[in-house]
Symmetry: C2
Subunit: 226 residues, 2 copies
């Protein structure tokens, strides 16, 4: 249950259907919502068995990814403050026939609308359905972008793009990340990442150290993307 | 406009929201719907400029695919009788930020719910929103499957799977298709397809002739997928 003024105003701001609910639906939702904490490194959700409901991120960082039988991964998108995770409620949606894994990258606080509550509201409220639609369309677009990248874009561009994004997320030119982790984000093998990073290093774009990658020349990195 | 009994009963059967509309909405929809014909080989829809509305396939076969700047293609899914094409109405949906191309593979008859009509109904009808949601979830699942295949599955399995699917669609063991076309379906180069087909031929699985591929051994083809 949430009833603190701060919580309610955050929910009002981020769930665009909130103000369109009637009084009874709003009280029902306040009663149903639960605050949750997740520690960095935890798995928030994996596979369909675990259908807890809709998570709204208050603070933190979540990575959504898929994984093959042989353990190969590819990152689909990231969730930050004010983002809503729809696939932790995929059992509410008919026709969703795939699993998305969620890894907590930074300590995360989230609001959870449990499955049963979300289902009830979906069945009676047009604005809630519209919200679900917009969310799904937005995630669908993210995934299409990743797919186009993975299938159509050369690996130097993908890696340059990853390093730049990461540097923005971390707000730093020094990235603390292993080549293995990068390979998992981009759906490739560690050796492929190492080879390209070494090439970037000979070009003076990055400097490689144990466990860190320092971006030396943002301009050159940018030029790879042209 | 549609008013023939046969048309109405087809629409009732395939659009699960039809019976949940009120009298006024139903008359409005009947007035708005247009019957369309497309010839094999035509492009039904490409890029966002062309947002004609929701197509419901009455008869025919459509291929949905994406294409890279350099012309590389990959097939996302096929639409057959009773399928609905949602991306030809993508301007109705917020947050859809990608383009899907639609190629007419066999002569096609379709009902079109024009964009403006579909938008109006979406804004006032919960069942229409639910329908959109289910459609989008279903296409999203198709795309996730294709992506997992393209990223995680070895090419022999993907090609074997393609040949089997095609043989079911065409209801024949002799497929009339070029290696170039197969490459476009699977998002790879023609040479890669030719090399694997030749390997299948030496294994006695297929027989290659000018412009056709004959499947000689369905069992062996099946075993590749295990």
């Amino acid at each position: 249950m949430v009833d603190h003024v701060k919580d309610i105003s955050f929910l009002e701001d981020t769930l665009n259907f909130w103000k369109k609910l009637n009084q009874a639906q709003r009280s029902f939702l306040k009663q149903a919502i639960v605050k949750k904490q997740f520690a960095a490194g935890e798995l928030m959700h994996s596979t369909a068995e675990n259908c807890s409901g809709l998570f709204l991120i208050h603070k933190g960082q979540i990575r959504a990814y898929i994984i093959s039988e042989s353990g190969k991964e590819i990152t689909l998108y990231h969730l930050f403050e004010r983002d809503v995770c729809i696939f932790s409620a995929s059992c509410v949606m008919k026709n969703i026939a795939f699993d998305v894994n969620l890894e907590v990258e930074k300590d995360t606080q989230a609001y959870l609308i449990p499955t049963a509550a979300y289902r009830k509201l979906s069945e009676e409220s047009l604005p809630v359905q519209v919200f679900t639609n917009q969310l799904m369309a937005s995630r669908f677009s993210d995934v299409m972008w990743i797919m186009e990248q993975a299938l159509f874009t050369s690996f130097d561009k993908r890696l340059a793009n990853f390093l730049m994004e990461r540097s923005v997320i971390e707000d730093s030119d020094t990235l603390v990340i292993t080549h293995e982790k990068i390979a998992n984000h981009l759906g490739t093998a560690r050796e492929v990442v190492t080879r390209m990073l070494k090439y970037f290093q000979t070009e003076g774009i990055v400097s490689l150290n144990r466990g860190t990658i320092e971006i030396l020349d943002q301009d050159k990195l940018n030029r790879i993307l042209e």
